[in-house]
Symmetry: C2
Subunit: 433 residues, 2 copies
């Protein structure tokens, strides 16, 4: 039998791109890859910005600086886009899709911005658009949502999908470090960038939540903003309190059903019970926790970043797309459920942890408690620590509507006896049996 040939072009030869090209050219994997792709995969071009840079493992003859020409090559079967960001990535991808060339990308920003539109463009042209590597690095969660769980009614998806912030919070937990110290260490180790905004302010996690939500629930990928709260406000005293109360603080991205047609998506630090599977996701690892109405809880865990793990996810997509091309088909794009409505995070109920720096004087607790009561926020437990002007009150509420908690906080901040509101975190409900 003749082995069909599938021609692959790669834009971007950073960590992921070079690991991918090396994987595709690895002689020891040659037979296994033909077996998995039902075709022989040939890298026909690698677009880079700088031709002079040394790129071990990549044949110099394949290099080009003209990414758009590569995307538009007559003989291309699959384009792999690994440059990230909106432009020029979008232009490259559209050029390929319009010619019926399938696209594999790791570009979460672009997918969150216009994934629905690009998926339709792929479909119209008989091509595939796959982006497993856009969420959770090497964790094959997107294909699982698309295939194995296609018949499941998912209630909630909750992920630790940003390795940088999980590394920082893990350091704060295990070593008692302050945020600034842990961030500096993350930067020194290359886990965080010089400008860490995209990670610590949860822009990255928010894009990933959008993508998870689109596959779990059928929400649109069209650049909608979702509620986003980062980790810059997390203090070591909060991490400490959480630990003593049996919790760890993690940055989570959540997409959940609210009623029949409501979907709420939000990212924020949360207190997770120590016995919850997400609590044991340490360092730069990522995990996605899915609650299905029939399947019950499911969790995927793995490396959320890094050249080789991410290249594995890209390779999984390339093999899938190659099999599709050989058999002359393409995936039906995930469908958008038009009945869904976005529910603002403020309308969602949750248990909250609230910490207040107060003056240690008679009547403080009474006035604080009365403000909680006025907003219908009921207190589950309270702990006072410190004395004098170092006193601190830590509350755990019963389940309360976020907007009511926010109003409580605003009013508490105005109280003369309250120096400052130190923290206000959602508390995630129990672990699993």
């Amino acid at each position: 039998m003749n082995t069909p040939k599938i021609r692959v072009g790669v834009i971007g030869a950073g960590n992921v791109g070079s690991a991918l090209v090396q994987l595709l050219n690895d002689e020891s994997r040659h037979i296994a890859l033909i077996d998995a792709a039902t075709a022989s995969l040939e890298v026909v071009g690698v677009a880079v910005r700088d031709l002079e840079k040394s790129r071990p493992g990549i044949d110099a003859a394949l290099l080009t600086t003209d990414a758009l020409a590569l995307a538009g090559r007559e003989d291309l079967d699959i384009l792999v886009e690994l440059v990230g960001g909106i432009e020029p990535a979008r232009t490259y991808i559209e050029a390929a899709l319009r010619r019926g060339v399938s696209v594999v990308t790791a570009n979460k920003t672009l997918m969150a911005e216009c994934g629905t539109e690009l998926s339709q463009l792929a479909h119209q042209n008989g091509a595939d658009l796959c982006y497993e590597a856009a969420v959770g690095g090497g964790i094959p969660i997107l294909r699982a949502l698309r295939t194995s769980l296609a018949g499941e009614r998912i209630e909630r998806v909750m992920g630790i999908v940003n390795g940088t912030t999980n590394f920082i919070l893990s350091k704060m937990t295990s070593e008692g470090s302050d945020y600034a110290v842990a961030l500096a260490e993350a930067q020194a180790l290359g886990y965080a960038e010089a400008d860490p905004t995209a990670d610590v302010e949860a822009f990255d996690a928010a894009a990933k939540v959008q993508i998870l939500s689109s596959l779990a629930f059928g929400t649109e990928l069209c650049g909608e903003e979702i509620s986003r709260e980062g980790i810059t406000g997390v203090r070591s005293i909060d991490v400490d309190f959480a630990g003593r109360a049996g919790y760890v603080i993690k940055l989570v991205g959540v997409a959940e059903r609210v009623g029949e047609h409501g979907i709420s998506r939000h990212t924020h630090p949360a207190m997770i019970p120590a016995e919850h599977p997400l609590a044991s996701v340490h360092g730069a690892m990522n995990a996605v926790f899915v609650e299905g109405s029939m399947s019950g809880p499911l969790m995927w865990l793995g490396q959320g970043a890094g050249g080789e793990p991410t290249a594995t996810a890209v390779l999984g997509d390339v093999l899938h797309v190659a099999r599709n091309r050989v058999s002359g088909r393409h995936d039906v794009p995930f469908s958008v459920d038009d009945r869904l409505e976005s529910v603002p995070a403020g309308e969602i109920a949750s248990v909250f942890y609230i910490s207040l720096d107060v003056m240690d004087e008679p009547g403080v607790l009474a006035s604080v408690a009365s403000i909680f009561g006025q907003h219908g926020v009921s207190i589950q437990s309270m702990e006072q620590s410190g004395f004098g002007d170092e006193a601190r009150l830590s509350f755990v509420t019963h389940s309360a509507v976020t907007n009511n908690v926010r109003a409580t906080i605003d009013e508490l901040a105005k109280l003369e006896s309250v120096d400052s509101v130190g923290a206000c975190f959602r508390v995630i409900d129990g672990g699993i049996a």
Copy 2:
């Protein structure tokens, strides 16, 4: 566009079968299922043993006691086999496959016995054979190995794939119960059967390891026996020691590469470091931990049993097979790698935990240590507890070949000062960063 119709027959209406039929007939899921299957799924028959039994949610007109006739129906597209065991399940499945009817099964015993042969039969007749529910209940691990990780070189697969034993060991860990007490509780709660042999002697786990190995490495599914050790020898003092040393005891099924073409498969209790993701898999949950050469560690966690979770996995397969039928294709069966050789568990090296009940008298440690030394088993740490004839020595070795450890144990048991060898468990290497 006309929606194609896919006709499904179900053999077995126990927990899983009835949950599946209810899912397929659930009006509120109708559109979602058509979307996922690219077809309308119709249950055309449900074979049961007892027609008189009340079966809520299943139309009585669909019931039949003639499973073989159902499997051989002219108009059938998909047969779902949920009776388990070798026969008559095998006869039903072969009858369907020979007519080109695709089969979805949860039957781990049958797949471990002759999965390769049945997969080839499916392929020859242009049909699919899917068995996601055979391993890990609702956890979609098999499709991930077959698709997303198809291009990955996997080094080791390690699973907690038996909920009954994990429930028992979790009870022993959290409550200090003895094995017999924990087993009785598992039986009272319906987690363990009256005759618990298949679970506690690891027959169930061994079949699942065979299946995981076939997809991870390409070993054959042909009823080969693998090294199998159950949990009946695990004592509460061992669980205790493990806890104090920072470990939990779990029954694991392992399939791992040894050199270029060796694969070793074994099931046994093991000490797992508390910080390893598998250590936090509690109660009846299952998890599969995969170590890929590029992906790094990956873990899947979920409900390992139960009607609804398992039905979710079956449904995922039904949808996949339906899509294939609509588009006129079937999966290429996973390939068997003929170069692979089975490496006996005795040849594998591991760190071991060994506990000896000894007479507390001068020279005991010296004579014990000398026997370790003679077999080339080097000791990493030792702890003595108890006094007099209640004394116990607990050793953790450096990495040692299993056969050498076994020989050490045999000789130690003959020492006059050693009352008995209490335990000998493998210690799994570190967690992940």
